[in-house]
């Protein structure tokens, strides 16, 4: 079952075609990796999917619904969860409040002035923190967490809207190898158990070929190959532009 369908996506900056006519699909529960050299257009592609950038052309459909033109917060409501390459969380809030904020926003209650926010959706927040293994640190200040823990909190925030699709920009960047595998194992489990599609970029090839169901290879704004990890690894064009350096 197709969750995310991207077709003919284009985006230029000052005449430079960062994304030049890309199309792909992600099925429910499928982990898809986008790889490619720096500047290949991976991040631009991500930003077009969750509405941070408006593509020049093309379509992004989530369960059949067109997302192009929606701002990021509406894309999030529609079911796009996102984590960032440079991990972004609310540093001055507690870990639990980070998740509560996303839960409150998802239920359109963020502008309310009467209830005490700390007391809202505690169970839901703790369940999500349980899922990513951060419940014990629920009261800690988010800004003081270790990097790997922060990544987990960010994942919990992204899951708060019960997304159909997770976009993860370099989910394991800056982490130690063992915690990389822990995190990706966690993501893998979430994708399969909750039937969430996952699209991620990654520089660590062990992670890519270890966890992705399918790999898309980008170069200069275009897709040059796609398929199961083994097929892609064997593709001569891919070896030349990207893996050849190994």
């Amino acid at each position: 079952m197709t969750t995310l369908a991207v077709s003919n996506l284009r985006k230029s900056f000052d005449g430079v075609r960062a994304v030049d006519g890309i199309g792909f699909e992600v099925a429910a529960g499928e982990l898809v990796a986008i790889i490619g050299p720096n500047g290949a257009g991976k991040s631009t592609c991500f930003n077009c999917v969750n509405g941070q950038l408006r593509p020049d052309a093309g379509s992004v459909r989530l369960d059949g619904r067109e997302l192009v033109g929606l701002p990021p917060r509406e894309a999030a409501r529609a079911g796009i969860g996102r984590t960032f390459q440079i991990t972004a969380a609310f540093g001055s809030l507690s870990v639990r409040e980070n998740v509560q904020a996303a839960l409150i926003a998802g239920r359109r209650r963020m502008l309310s002035m009467l209830p005490v926010a700390r007391r809202l959706y505690i169970q839901e927040a703790d369940a999500l923190l349980d899922l990513v293994g951060m419940r014990a640190l629920g009261d800690a200040t988010c800004g003081a967490l270790a990097y790997g823990d922060l990544k987990r909190v960010e994942l919990a925030i992204a899951l708060a809207q019960d997304p159909r699709m997770l976009l993860m920009d370099e989910p394991t960047a800056g982490m130690a190898p063992s915690s990389r595998r822990d995190l990706m194992g966690l993501v893998h489990g979430i994708a399969k158990n909750r039937s969430v599609g996952v699209l991620f970029t990654e520089h660590d090839m062990d992670i890519v070929f270890g966890y992705a169901d399918r790999v898309l290879v980008m170069s200069r704004g275009r897709l040059i190959a796609s398929g199961p990890p083994d097929t892609v690894r064997a593709d001569p064009a891919v070896r030349e532009t990207y893996l050849g350096t190994e």
């Binding site: 972004a88 502008l111 009467l114 700390r118």
Partner: protein, 616 residues
Amino acid sequence: MSFLFVQFLTGLASASSLFLVASGLSLIFGVTRVVNFAHGSFYMLGAFCGYSAVGLLAPVLGDAFGFWVAVPLTAAAVAVLGAALEMTVLRRIYGAPELFQLLATFGILLVLADATLAVWGPEDLLGPRAPGLAGAVQVFGQAVPTYDLFLIGVGPVVLGLLWFCLQRTRWGVQIRAATENRELTAALGINQRRLFTSVFAVGAGLAGLAGALELPRHPASLGMDLGVIVEVFVVTVVGGMGSIPGAFVAALLIGQLQAFGILAFPEITIVLLFLFMAAVLIVRPWGLLGRPEAPAAARILQAEAPLRPLPASGKAAALAIALLLAALPLVAGPYILSVATEIIVFALFAASLHFLTGIGGIVSFGHAAGFGLGAYGAALAVRWLEAGMPAGLAAGVALAAVGTGIFGAFCIRLSGVYLAMLTLAFAQICYAVAFQWYDVTGGDNGLIGIWPPRWASSPETLYWLALLLCGAGAMALRHMVHAPLGLGMRACRDSPLRAEASAIDRRGIRWAAFTLAGMAAGLAGAFYAFFKGSVFPDALGVGVSVDGLVMMLLGGIGTLSGPLVGAAAYKATQVELAAATDFWRALLGLGIVLLVVLFPRGIAGQLQYLWYRWVR
């Protein structure tokens, strides 16, 4: 027809001055990312120094030669002063949060303003006519001052020179590189210190040149500094911060707007300026030729601890303090009570600013807008609708809500210093309307006779009322900080990117924060009108905005009770200082500069920092 053409030429001449000042500001901002509040002071000093230089040189060199030597000499002198200030003060605060930078340069403005007053006195000084250009030229049967034609030429010449320097010299390449990417310039081994100092000197010199060149048209006067800085802020915001051609185009447009606006709406020309700026910002939020900047997390302070509810002991302490305050009239006389009432009013004002800036991460330099609109709303309701005190207070809050609601809708589209400048511009526009719309607001005579009803007129009752109303206001703000709205405000402050990606309606939250803070400030202002029995345009002035910022920083941003303590400390000091010396503004300015240079984290933040270092 010919009259309109002459008006057009007048507009062009004004545009040249505006451009000279704005280009300097833009240049400095582009390289150092500091919005220099004191830039208007360089303009004012240019005028005063120019006056003295002509007076000294004309008898020696002759009238004609004297004037034309005095003008560039003045620009050079102001440039040297600018370089000196950069090396002593600004260099130390490049890494500080932008709020501190703005405050520090405002402190410099205060010091320079009082220094000018001390040296040249309070009178306007009428400058000489420009030798050789004193006459008028007939254009379509209308007399146009020759000097205006000369000024019209100065703008494009300076633009050309700047363009040449930026494109064709090594210095210019360094400036462009620094404007594009500061980290890169440091990595390239460019001597940043020398570059920053030289850019600051050139920017200051351009403002000084503009001031000196303005002498034959307008007398040198105190107040030129703030007057021009607001116009120049509008020019740079419209043109795009950091863009020299943008400043030129915007100066041309705004010069014309003023030249023709004064024909159509002589009383409220500045409102046109506001409407124009608003229109530009709707279409191009980053100005005509500016480039968008990604919204960054507000650099208010280092990561704070999460806000927690008061523990039981804290609640007991707060209750005890409230009871003690309520008992004050039993022991204090009318004078103490009046000072205490003023402190309470300003405590709510500081708390509302803290709500906006500390919690919401929205740095406002024009929070006086809410305060003054509240005061005027109350006073106008009393004056024109014969409202009583309750209705007057309600009218004040309502006017503040409408005003800051409208301003907020524009301001929240921007971030950082752009936003701070825009809030200032809005407050100054309110100030100008109050000042100019004589028939309704009484102009600088203000509105008087805004007394509370008989039952509330004793100092004790008024004090208790202040405690009750302002206390309730502060409590309401405090509650909202812990409500979903406050959580959302803190989330948007910490990470705009994460907030948007988490379905948080950042605009809606920031707008609500802006308006609510304005309403709370409006309540303080409305009460202040009844407390003083009058309201004057100063209630909308920059002074009030800065008072609020200093109170907030004195108390520390990290805690909710900080602003209340800061207000008490600051107001008490101010009352004493103002009674002791005429130059208290300069002392205040010096205090602000020292505060920022010595305590770049704020007093409370610095203590917290030292505490942590000591503990570990």
